[in-house]
Point group: C2
Chain length 308, copies 2
């Protein structure tokens, strides 16, 4: 079986790690949201790509889920002294990633090629593919105005209520060539337990992607990031409430109508299985919590079992 | 009195520090060589400007003369892992300077404006002015081919013999506006004890500068970087030998014909005073060694005494 998984940040990275432990590099492609990408200090930062990359490289900070373990922040402290914004935490090791990526882009490489170079250097065997090589920016309309994703997420700590979301640049973007290739080659598509609105929706907003997934020949499996009405991490549940969407696994499943064959929900939500089935998906109930690496592998094995 | 001093790296920074301790900011402008500027990892690095700036800010590493005290090198280590060149030592704090400078340049600021912003943020009260806002690159013809200054100086540790030097871009460059303004406003010009060939010559190569200094109304004082036939720091003596120039204070003075009124040489070279005088300059003999901050202030006071 050949797997393509769509991932955002921390939740996506966890399942991607589980899958990478049981699938050879030739059988797994991780496509990552770049709607969160942002320029800081003139450097191109790809928060979700880096979270997935650092996680698969075994470098990620287990306390935060993002960033690199054992970081120092000497450059950022000095950037602050120079009058630069410092609300986005960039460690010294992490900065090297952004410096290198920006330099490769400046030299004419695509974001896909730059990402491939970085992940190989970090010893990550599995392909990590940005959804697009073109700029797409997730913009949130909030009570204090329209904000780019990271400004809302980090600077404003998800506090301003969100009324709508758009993906600036998406209409002009193309899916990255490796993404399209993987969509053609794979027989199982996995929606990671990532935020459907700001992690998965940007990927679906790239022209051609939604169509390709609707017409997908193989098995399409989604994992709910909402368990017992709460997001495991991040603002998904709060955002769903603000958007007037039921904050539950069913509310998530409704985002994947026509896109998903099997919807994986947590044991605690087992009573919602009939609601999921009524949406035309098969409901698969298991323990979806990924606290340890063993949990990640177990969930990955469960998903591969569903696909088989 | 109003002073303009021309500086390269470490030697220039030492005298600039001495002068800055006894002159108010309104009476001293430090113009710095940018022929060493180089792009590393897509970032604009100005080695001499930074050495002067860090020295005046009290941040410089006393062991090396360049770089910042108490540095860490976490970003550079990772850049190396990413396959980037790492022969040019860039600490994490130092990187912040280059990131910020590059970002300001990218936003359309001139190198002068970016430098001014950086030095003010570091609490440096005295103006530090790049010789030009345009790119000038010191290129050395050596036994292993033509090399940019930092490649020769750092990567090849000054080893390949130098047969000639050119300043690429100089003919198209203009002196920075603050440099020209200071040339008009000041009444004393000081050539720091910097390498005449790769620190001062690039400044003189910028169109209009040599003329303006030849026609300069006030007192022009040069301090020899060669003491007892040896460079106090750096490759000046070795380079002079390779270029067929006498490696002595007299050899230095000959580089400043028509440009200098008073030539300061060290006590150990007192016997060469007549040779200096025969070049049409007044010879001033003193202890020019700047091992401590007191030494730097003493030499600065001596120079101000000559100017008065």
């Amino acid at each position: 079986m050949n797997y393509l998984t769509l991932a955002g940040g921390v939740g996506g990275a966890k399942l991607a790690l589980g899958l990478s432990r049981i699938l050879p590099p030739s059988d797994l492609t991780v496509v990552v949201n770049t709607g969160d990408d942002e320029e800081f200090h003139g450097l191109h930062v790809s928060p979700d790509v880096d979270t997935v990359m650092y996680t698969l490289a075994g470098l990620s900070n287990p306390e935060t889920g993002w960033g690199i373990r054992g970081e120092t922040f000497n450059a950022l402290e000095r950037l602050k002294a120079y009058g630069a914004d410092n609300w986005f935490n960039l460690g010294d090791k992490d900065l090297a990633t952004h410096i290198r990526r920006t330099h490769l882009l400046l030299q004419g490489e695509s974001l896909s090629a730059a990402t491939d170079s970085l992940r190989r250097s970090l010893g990550v065997a599995h392909p990590i593919v940005p959804m697009s090589d073109d700029p797409v920016r997730t913009m949130l309309t909030t009570t204090i105005g329209e904000l780019p994703m990271q400004t809302w997420f980090v600077k404003h700590r998800c506090e301003p209520a969100v009324s709508s979301i758009r993906f600036a640049g998406a209409a002009q973007a193309q899916p990255s060539p490796s993404f399209m290739q993987a969509l053609r080659d794979c027989d199982t598509l996995v929606f990671c337990p990532s935020n459907p609105f700001v992690s998965v929706a940007p990927i679906l907003a790239v022209p051609g992607v939604r169509d390709a997934i609707e017409r997908f020949d193989g098995v399409r499996i989604a994992v709910s990031p909402i368990v017992g009405g709460q997001a495991i991490k991040g603002p998904a549940a709060k955002m769903m409430g603000e958007l007037g969407i039921e904050s539950s696994c069913v509310g998530v499943a409704k985002q994947y109508l026509e896109l998903c064959d099997i919807f994986v929900l947590d044991d605690v939500d087992a009573d919602r299985a009939p609601d999921i089935e009524s949406l035309g998906m098969r409901a698969a109930v298991t323990n979806t919590m990924m606290l340890t690496d063993e949990d990640k592998v177990r969930l990955a094995e469960y998903i591969c079992g569903l696909a088989a």
